[in-house]
Amino acid sequence: MKNSIKIKQAFSVDRTTFQDIFFIPILAISLAISLGLLLLLLTGESYQTALTALIALFVGSFGSVSALSETLTAATPLIFAALGIAIGFRAGLFNIGAEGQIIVGGLAAVIIGFSVELPLMLHLTLMLSVGAAFGAGYAFISGWLKAFTGAHEVITTIMLNLIAFRLLDFFLRLPFIQKEGRNDPISKSVLDTAELPRLLVLIDPNLRIHAGFLLAILAVILVYWIIFHTTIGFEFRMVGTNLNAAKYAGVNSSLTIVLAMSAAGLCAGLAGASQISGVLGRATSGFSAGIGFDAIAVALLGRAHPIGVLFSGILFGALVAGGREMQVSAGVSLDLITVIQALIIIFVAAPILVKSIFPWFFGKK
């Protein structure tokens, strides 16, 4: 008798976590997309357009090999940056500064990319690591301020984002960086030796998926190992769960905060560098394209777990790729995708809300 209750309890716990992990994201996404389409109808678009948009969203993301390639290409920087934000979440830090860290990392990477001449692998490695290092350095500022002055990382990272936008505009106009003969803020192109190789050239040279995606998967495994199987990862989680308990247990919390923030910036810097090296080939004024903000949603949807981040990153990559198709075939602005992403964040962060909208998906308490 007792045992059966125990088993029942264990089972019901498993069932609710299962529901939480799978049902809530799926319901959140469907709800967000439905509301997005409703919004489209509200602005006076026809049902036809909304339907075309919905179909384009799916066809453009998973409908063909090239669509899939676009999805994974868009997912790559999102996964990198979201891994960083996930590390931050684990350590109790909310890093909104991924956008700025991507900019600083990407900018440093592009400079290495066009100015240094090295053999292929060396050049690529140098470019990516410099990008990562600059991203880490930029995030270090917020981490240090948080650990030693108590400045809230949300405000400092947002300010550093705004500063990074201005810095980018300034640097892109320097004669050393600006492309010859151009007046707009655009950098020189990186050399061929600094480009991440495309993966599917054998099938079609126009498929943009590049080796950065493999690096992103590697990063997922590495971050998983660091968070769950190393001392420093344990310290991140301790500081994030209960700062005071961590301090009493002898964790150097200031150092941990600085390290976690820098690691977050390192990932974001890699996102910028891989985007420059694998897709864009040069830096322009808006090259970060909101990846750093989308990555927040990716990290939240993936529940700050590396594996979750991988899947939610691919999902958001699909939203971006599908959104572009939507723009082309239905004439719907990409901003609708931003709205859908924000709604996904809200629904994922408010499981009680989702449960109260769809009570029949969840067992009674």
């Binding site: 919004l39 602005t43 678009e45 909310f94 909104i96 301020l145 002055t149 108590g150 400045a151 809230h152 949300v154 405000i155 400092t156 947002i158 300010m159 550093l160 705004l162 500063i163 201005r166 810095l167 505009d169 300034f170 903000f293 927040i296 949603a297 939240l300 719907v332 602005s333 901003d335 609708l336 995708i337 931003t338 709205v339 859908i340 992403q341 924000a342 709604l343 964040i345 809200i346 962060a349 408010a350 009680i352 809300l353």
Partner: protein, 419 residues
């Protein structure tokens, strides 16, 4: 008793340490100011205080650049040394004076050999401080009931959009009212999310920001770009207050503005009155400090939080409307440019007190107008770096170099009512 003494001792040690850091910071600032501006400056800086057409014109203020910069940096260094040696209580005052001197030095350096309208700049300071002060008021209304509102930026953006859109259709007065209502709706949304559904307050705020950014950009490209007449509203004209507007310096600074400036000042003082002189304000503060105790005394924590956060959203919506109805008359994507966040920094700088936040907002407004007006002087500093000034000041402020301030006790925590 012993416990108390111990804690007091630790507090003193902490204070000595932080005064050491802030003192060194000031000395560093003095050196920096001197190194940057002290060399190769010649001539006099002329500051124009009035226009010749003013009824009571003041003579120009003329400062010898070289000696002013020397004296100012020495004074900052003296303050720094004093902080290290004595750790006095009036941190904020010393810091305010030091920053003021540093900025004055910068202005004198930039103006050396030229002339510059100081009054015009002060007027711009007040105007630019309006959205920041209003964002700070919205922040105070929410944080006093222990709800962090990172979403102010989004609420302001929504207000700006609503102001432009509905102002174009129904006229600016109705547009303003709708902008306030829209801000209130997003306040309601935040309250629902964090109070009812207990979403992490920062995540909810960030989500609101992204949502509003997406919504306004979406509507801009789907509605406003196709119908430009929907993004062309009349702006509120400036109202000159008789007699007072003719006063030198103060007149242009305070009494030659549009309705936003006057209402913002009114909001600051009514917020102060509400929080500190009314029973409702006392209840709100109790909810922010110790919700359980407040509930025990019969105050509804949930209701109080809802009301205050909605009012905060309305104030943010009003502040957002300034960008369109009080300034340029049209909406551009992302036009609030981080003012909501700067407002939060102003709130912290002002120690969660409306009047303090207003003063802090003036500091930020000054930094904001500085970049605008310095373009005229053709300084060798690139415009991008001038544009960073308000953001850098914000970081310095929240870094707590100005002394640690205490937020309401229950900040950031969801309240679960016990049955």
């Amino acid at each position: 008793m012993r416990k108390f003494a111990l804690s007091k001792q630790t507090m003193n040690i902490a204070r000595t340490q932080s005064s050491l850091i802030s003192g060194s910071f000031l000395i560093l600032l003095a050196i920096l100011v001197f190194m940057l501006f002290g060399f190769g400056v010649e001539g006099e800086a002329t500051f124009r205080l009035s226009r010749p057409s003013d009824p009571y014109a003041l003579p120009n203020l003329v400062l010898p650049a070289e000696s002013f910069i020397g004296i100012a940096s020495l004074t900052i260094a003296f303050f720094g040394a004093r902080l290290i040696v004595k750790a006095p209580k009036e941190y904020s005052v010393i810091f305010a004076i030091s920053f003021f001197l540093a900025i004055a030095t910068f202005l004198v350096w930039a103006t050396a050999g030229k002339s510059f309208s100081l009054t015009g700049m002060l007027q711009a300071t007040v105007v630019r401080a309006v959205p920041i002060a209003l964002a700070a008021m919205a922040g105070i209304m929410c944080e006093r009931v222990a709800v962090i509102n990172i979403g102010i930026e989004g609420m302001m953006l929504a207000g700006a959009f609503a102001g432009a859109f509905f102002g174009s259709i129904f006229g600016s007065v109705l547009g303003l009212l709708i902008a306030i209502a829209v801000g209130g709706i997003f306040g309601l949304m935040l309250a629902l999310l964090v109070v009812t559904f207990r979403v992490d307050q920062i995540i909810a705020g960030v989500a609101i920001n992204i949502l509003v950014l997406g919504l306004t950009s979406f509507f801009t490209s789907h509605l406003l770009k196709k119908n430009p007449h929907l993004n062309d509203t009349a702006v509120f004209k400036s109202i000159q207050i008789p007699i007072l507007a003719d006063l030198p310096i103060i007149g242009p600074m305070l009494f030659r503005h549009n309705i936003f400036v006057y209402l913002a000042i009114l909001i600051v003082f009514s917020t102060t009155f509400y929080l500190f002189k009314t029973a409702y304000g006392l209840r709100a503060r109790a909810v922010g400090e110790h919700p359980k105790a407040a509930e025990t005394l019969g105050i509804s924590v949930i209701k109080t939080r809802f009301i205050n956060v909605i009012i905060g959203g309305m104030i943010a919506g009003f502040g957002g409307a300034w960008f369109t109805l009080g300034s340029v008359g049209r909406f551009d994507e992302g036009m609030t440019g981080g003012r909501g966040f700067i407002g939060l920094a102003a709130m912290i700088f002002g120690r969660w007190h409306p009047v303090g936040a207003l003063l802090a907002a003036l500091v930020f407004g000054f930094a904001d107008s500085l970049q605008q007006k310095l373009a005229i002087l053709r300084t060798p500093i690139p415009s991008e770096f001038l544009a960073m000034a308000p953001y850098i000041v914000t970081i310095i402020v929240v870094a707590g170099i100005v002394g640690s301030a205490r937020p309401p006790q229950a900040i950031g925590k969801a309240y679960i009512k016990e049955n």
